[in-house]
């Protein structure tokens, strides 16, 4: 037997999934061990081996693919815990990180308009006497002595890592490379990030920020990747571990150590990639992915089953970077999100969360402010006795009291009415987020299906979908550990960008950049064992009208062995077509008439296509089996305000092909699905639960 293993180390749980070559899927989890993540990982794998029924060494020895998604980088940035970093930058511009292009944000409340936290205090920023201008000319050359002075000064301050970012280095990297060389010679123990290697594109603030964050997270990633490589090898793993990037796609450990910051937000990416694989399996082309955890609700769009990628990612709502990653919109709506009344007496939910500690009131760990989970348990949607497969009993009465006190009394509602208000508010917030990623980006939601995962979402998914105009909801078989499975669907992806600055005329320089980047990336994939037939390469250009601030991404046709003249002709054609591409995005009549079109930068993405083991569908009976409820429960239906006795079904007992009508509740060990009135649920041959809005004429 051959296995592929996906492993998602989250904040609370480490989830693992194995798919075997017979199409069997095995899942398990263990508590995450923040001090040494490898411990929780090994435990989860031991549990998994138990499920498969073989010793761990045998499981790992027969594993042909191992993919890991980790919050190491996400947490390092979120908690501002990382390496002691020193920055070397151009003389006169050492305050760049403090100035932060003006850190004003969209908040009206001035309490939320504060200076950014500084990862690198100003005294660890050293300026060097050098200057390159906008033509790449070294106006003031950097001397080796000056480079040595800067490196020594920071080494003397005890830094663990360096971030080198000079003005215009993306046009002329000589000065940065000199510093890197000096650092490597004099202080080989330092982790060094160089802006012109990481992201050789204009805009020094985001380039610097990216370089600094790369150094900040570098040591932790080196330590982490090294440790799990050793631990798993010691237990028999013979294949290299793939590390998930926020961009989607995996990297080798060596690459991850060089570009650690690209691992940021790999968890959400794993879920989206998994939804992509699921959508392909089910024949869905336009999909909204939705993931609800304890603190947030994350939505993303697959259009034509391709995820959207966003550029210039802002981290922590504070740090503008040059990173690109799968476009996931997070809002503060999770199971632990706190319900409160604003100054007008209107109920609001989140973004504050009770977190894991003390957690919702019903956890009985000292929480006193009502949360979304409390509302669900008071409504009767969540079974207080069956939470997490019965591992934790929920305290209903305290939750009821908290809702009645904090929300009910001021609004003259009883506890159930207050819970319904919280349910409606959080559902509306989540639905707005779904609309934001669909309608506002020009998509008609009625064409979309929603793939809903994360332990808490099954309760809300159908109502969110209906408000957003979506008629089909898929709750995947392993909804509660979905991201781990998703990792296995990820291809091996490398991407690099480079400045282009082309506005017509001979484009051989651009062609050379694309070829160099391609050669580098293809070389890296070939080194990782991919044959030419399994490597796909895409070329992209960032175009804009001269005078505009931001670019639009346009694919550049990639033709092998193309001559310079033909390449120039291709680019000219894209330039001529740009007004049309632009108006497709912003509407007729908005293209800038008469303004030249500029190609600011190019990007190459190389994908090594992996061979994923697929789960085997169960046989469907000719006649849909009739499901039998395991019991009935009193539920306060939040949208109509009625109390009703509704049937409860045990998910594993629903045979493939079984169908049932709402209102009903379907309970799985780790997740609960609410089927509201007007919805039909069907258990499919892969163990997914597919809900359809029977009141809607639209079909996905």
């Amino acid at each position: 037997m051959e296995y592929q293993i996906g492993c998602d180390i989250g904040g609370t749980f480490t989830d693992v999934t194995a798919v075997d070559s017979a199409g069997g899927v095995h899942v398990d989890k263990a508590d995450t061990t923040p001090g040494d993540l490898a411990l929780g990982l090994i435990q989860a794998l031991e549990n998994l081996a138990g499920r498969v029924g073989v010793p761990l060494t045998e499981l790992l020895g027969a594993t042909t693919r191992f993919v890991n998604g980790t919050t190491v980088v996400t947490n390092s940035v979120a908690e501002l815990r990382g390496a002691v970093v020193g920055v070397i930058t151009t003389k006169g511009f050492g305050d760049n990180l403090l100035i932060a292009r003006s850190a004003r944000n969209a908040h009206r409340d001035h309490h939320k308009q504060l200076n950014l936290p500084q990862i690198v205090p100003r005294h660890r920023v050293v300026e060097v006497n050098e200057r390159i201008d906008r033509k790449g000319r070294p106006v003031v050359p950097l001397t080796e002595a000056e480079a040595r002075r800067a490196v020594s000064e920071l080494a003397g301050q005890g830094v663990e890592a360096l971030a080198v970012s000079l003005l215009w280095s993306f046009l002329n990297p000589e000065h940065e490379e000199l510093i890197a060389r000096v650092a490597a010679e004099q202080h080989p123990e330092l982790f060094v990030s160089v802006s012109s290697r990481l992201h050789p594109v204009i805009r020094e603030y985001e380039r610097t920020m990216t370089t600094v964050l790369n150094s900040f997270t570098g040591l932790r990633v080196a330590e982490y990747t090294g440790r799990i490589e050793r631990e798993l090898a010691a237990r028999g793993l013979r294949v290299p571990i793939g590390f998930m990037q926020g961009f989607g796609g995996t990297l080798s450990a060596a690459e991850a150590r060089e570009r650690p910051i690209t691992l940021i937000d790999s968890g959400p990416a794993g879920g989206v990639i998994g939804a992509q694989a699921l959508a392909r399996r089910l024949g869905l082309t336009d999909v909204v992915t939705a993931d609800m955890g304890g603190t947030s609700f994350d939505v993303s769009v697959l259009q034509g089953s391709e995820p959207l990628v966003t550029q210039r990612v802002m981290l922590r709502d504070q740090f503008l970077t040059a990173l690109s990653k799968i476009d996931v919109l997070p809002i503060g709506a999770g199971g632990g999100s706190i319900a409160w009344l604003d100054a007008r007496g209107v109920p609001q939910v989140g973004p504050r969360s009770a977190g894991a500690e003390p957690g919702p009131v019903c956890y009985g760990r000292g929480g006193t402010t009502p949360t979304v989970t409390d509302a669900a348990v008071v409504l009767g949607l969540l079974d207080a006795k069956a939470f997490l497969g019965g591992r934790r009993e929920l305290a209903v009465e305290p939750a009821r009291d908290a809702l009645a006190r904090e929300i009910g009394k001021p609004l003259e509602l009883d506890a159930a009415g207050a819970a319904a208000a919280v349910y409606r508010m959080v559902t509306a917030n989540m639905s707005n987020a779904v609309r934001t990623v669909t309608v506002e980006r020009g998509h008609d939601p009625r064409r979309f299906a929603m793939v809903a995962y994360g332990g808490a979402l099954g309760i809300f998914a159908a109502d969110i979908a209906r408000i957003a105009g979506i008629a089909t909801v898929v709750v995947p078989a392993d909804a509660a550990v979905f991201s781990a499975h998703g990792l296995l669907a990820s291809d091996d992806v490398r991407t690099r960008a480079r400045s282009a600055m082309w506005s017509g005329g001979d484009a051989s320089g651009v062609a050379a950049s694309l070829r160099e980047l391609e050669a580098e990336l293809v070389g890296s994939l070939t080194g990782a064992g991919y044959g030419a037939d399994r490597i796909d390469v895409r070329w992209l250009g960032e175009f804009k009208f001269a005078g505009q601030q931001w670019e639009i991404t346009v694919p550049i046709p990639r033709r092998a062995d193309i001559g310079s003249a033909d390449f120039t002709a291709d680019l000219d054609a894209l330039r001529a077509d740009f007004p049309r591409a632009y108006e497709a995005e912003y509407g007729a009549g908005t293209a800038w008439v008469g303004a030249p079109v500029l190609l600011m930068s190019v990007r190459v993405t190389a994908t090594g296509r992996v061979r994923s083991l697929e789960p085997t569908p169960a046989a469907l009976p000719a006649e849909p089996p009739v499901p039998v409820p395991s019991g009935r429960r009193r539920v306060h239906l939040p949208l109509t305000g009625e109390d009703a006795d509704i049937p409860v079904y045990d998910a594993p007992s629903l045979a493939p092909g079984a169908e049932l009508e709402g209102p009903a509740v379907v309970e799985h060990q780790l997740t609960t699905i609410q089927v509201p009135p007007g919805w039909r649920l069907r258990a499919d041959e892969w163990g997914n639960h597919v809900m359809t809005d029977t009141t809607s004429g639209a079909q996905a």
Partner: protein
């Protein structure tokens, strides 16, 4: 869909509206080429009901709240109803009719019709507006300091059709094109306003389809009432009383005058009245502003402090009255020039209202209200316009958006934000150096935080910028500078000190090009070959040649609370970061550091005692002690800066028993006689 109007349903509806107004802004930012829109986020979008009452305002720039409504009201008053049709759009930029801040702020207004009945029915309006590059008149950029009348300032369009039933009105388009300097850029911006209005129309159609027309109308009214009630409840948290305050508008472009702006704020139960009647008469320079602008300038600090958690619609404004007198500097009438009115009078209104609110909010029993006290921002958008040919001989106008880099006021709970931009400008950003050097023929020598520019206090005011550039790939050209806050710095709050103010300097013969060629990057003014020449608050037509240097130092925000109560370790950290000088640490904060830059605890305690003892020797003034000094000299003693001006004083008030600094005030004694200012 249920029609019961419970608060949850209304809130869900209101959030959808908000979402639409914000999305209009996203369309503008993403499709615009203008740094003013994309970097400074100097634009606004809103949705009004059929009568022009605001039902949703995206908080990009709160300053234009008054303007936005005035534009629709004016169109409704002047265009016959049967000539307002589906697919129409109106263009407006006239401060005197459609209420725009200045004529270079151009708005597109679109009526929105429901198509549910037999006839299309007017149900709403939307607006998208931004500062464009030029709109004609005397001066490039249509900021015309030389103007003595509004006639020469710019082309004015009082809400005329630019799109008629979906068709571009070619005649208007050609008139605009003919009258402005950079038609391509500006016409493209107007296209992006149209795109934003189109998006709003589409989404409003969806909303009507989803909720039904009657329900939409009902919810809009309920949302306004809810907001109004919440604002009234909040005002009730303030003690009743009458408070007066004064700020001073500086230098009108021709005359280095001082123009008092006076406000009497009355809080009575659940209403607030801001009365500016006693302010200076309008002047013949470009610093006057319209009544609509004054309303927006009053609303901005209110919406950021007292009402920061409440939505913005017409209901929010109902309990708030703003009284101005026609013909004054804050309610200008034709033909007074107004092209810099919002930057000058408008932002002074913001500062004045911030100060008045601080005093009143601090006396509230409600902790939220007290904690939202803040000191004034610098609120000086330090404009620099450089007109020089590039290496191909093509004239490249360079408006430096770093002008939006002055500091924010300290808060009751935190330090002010460095490089915050203007109070009324959430989402402000300043450009990357590489982006400016790519687009314009200049090379920056430095851009750093302006040392000691934030007002000292228990919480320090945010710092502004100190930057310098020299012409590059250019033979040089002509420079114009304008700073609104130059001689009269922003006050501190509750014993916090004023911030430094803003000013430009020109270094002719600086030899920056030679220094660079010699392998030296100049790190500050002392590294240049010639001494700097301080420029006036507004100065035009300066020659900047090769190697010459323009230096801008923008001021910070006021401090909060007696700086002797600031945690010494925070002062030491600021000194180590180079944000506060050792001299300022000693003079303002009473903090002494040892050779390694650490706080010398005993010496600091002793120095703080000495400073308090010195305060107790000040002159008696009622139940407090006072020290009155010329502002500039007193700031220089603290290693801060403002341009010296006779009659501008700093008054410091201390507690006779403890020596604690209770209050500081900037007092201007020599205002130009309002009548003589004409």
């Amino acid at each position: 869909m249920s029609t019961r109007t419970d608060p949850v349903t209304i809130e869900i509806f209101s959030k959808t509206l908000e979402n639409i107004a914000f999305e209009m802004g996203l369309v503008m930012m993403r499709s615009s080429g203008s740094p003013v829109i994309a970097e400074a986020v100097d634009f606004s979008t809103f949705i009004a009901d059929a009568e022009g009452d605001i039902i949703c305002y995206a908080g990009y720039i709160t300053l234009y709240l008054g303007t936005a409504r005035q534009a629709v009201k004016h169109i409704l008053a002047t265009v016959p109803r049967d000539k307002i049709r589906p697919g129409d759009m109106f263009i407006c930029n006239d401060p005197f009719t459609t209420g725009n801040a200045h004529a270079v702020d151009v708005g597109v207004v679109r009526p929105i019709f429901a198509h549910t009945g037999p006839e299309p029915e007017l149900i709403a309006w939307c607006w998208s507006e931004a500062h464009v590059n030029d709109f004609g008149g005397f001066a490039p950029g249509s900021m015309a300091p030389m103007a003595t009348e509004a006639y020469g300032e710019a082309l004015r369009l009082p809400g005329v059709k630019i799109v008629d039933r979906g068709e571009l009105v070619d005649d208007i388009w050609r008139i605009i094109e003919t009258n402005i300097r950079v038609p391509n850029l500006v016409m493209n911006d107007i296209r992006c306003f149209i795109a934003a209005c189109n998006r709003c129309d589409e989404r409003m159609q969806d909303l009507v389809a989803r909720y039904g027309l009657d329900t939409v109308r009902e919810y809009v009214e309920v949302a306004k009432d809810l907001a109004e009630q919440a604002v009234r409840d909040r005002i009730r948290e303030l003690p009743n009383g009458v408070h007066t305050g004064e700020e001073t508008v500086e230098h009108n472009g021709h005359t280095n005058g001082l123009y008092p702006l006076r406000c009497t704020l009355t809080v009575r139960d659940d209403t607030m009245t801001f009365d500016f009647t006693e302010s200076s008469s309008q002047t013949n320079g470009f610093v006057n502003c319209s009544a609509a602008m004054t309303l927006g300038s009053v609303a901005s600090p209110l919406l950021i402090t007292l009402l920061s958690d409440l939505p913005i619609n017409q209901g929010t404004l109902r309990p708030i009255e703003v009284i101005t007198k026609p013909g004054t500097i804050c309610d200008a009438r034709m033909p007074a020039p107004v092209s810099s009115g919002h930057l000058e009078t408008g932002f002074r209104v913001c500062k004045l209202v911030t100060r008045l609110l601080a005093d009143i909010q601090a006396a509230s029993d409600n902790a939220f209200v007290r904690e939202h006290v803040m000191a004034p921002f610098q609120d000086s958008w330090n404009a620099s316009f450089f007109y020089a040919p590039d290496e191909h001989g093509e004239l490249v106008p360079f408006p430096d958006m770093n002008g939006g880099g002055s500091g924010g006021g300290a808060q009751a709970v935190a330090d002010g934000m460095d490089v915050s931009g203007m109070l009324a400008q959430p989402q402000n950003s300043i450009p990357d150096i590489e982006i400016n050097e790519l687009g314009y023929p200049v090379l920056y020598l430095w851009r750093k935080l302006n040392v000691n520019s934030g007002g000292p206090g228990r919480h320090r005011g945010g710092n502004g910028l100190d930057l310098a550039w020299t012409p590059w790939y250019s033979p040089g050209g002509e420079e114009h500078v304008m700073a609104a806050c130059w001689q009269v710095p922003p006050a501190g709050a509750f014993g916090g000190y004023p911030a430094s103010s803003s000013g430009f300097q020109l270094v002719t013969g600086a030899g920056a090009d030679t220094a660079l060629a010699d392998g030296r990057v100049p790190g500050g003014l002392p590294d240049l070959a010639a001494p700097p020449r301080a420029l006036e608050g507004k100065q035009f037509g300066l020659t900047v040649g090769p190697g010459d240097v323009i230096n801008m130092r923008s001021g910070g925000g006021g401090g909060y609370g007696d700086p002797l109560t600031r945690e010494p370790a925070l002062v030491a950290a600021d000194v180590r970061a180079g944000i506060v000088s050792a001299a300022a640490a000693e003079a303002s904060y009473g903090v002494l550091l040892d050779g390694a830059g650490r706080v010398d605890g005993p010496a600091t305690a002793a120095l703080r005692d000495r400073i308090r003892a010195e305060r107790r020797t000040w002159e008696r003034d009622g139940d407090r002690l006072v020290r009155r000094s010329p502002a500039a000299a007193r700031l220089v003693e603290r290693d801060q800066w403002c341009a010296a001006r006779d009659g501008v004083e700093l008054h410091e008030y201390a507690d006779p028993d403890t020596g604690e600094l209770l209050r500081t005030e900037i007092v201007v004694n020599s205002g130009v006689d309002p009548a003589a200012a004409r």
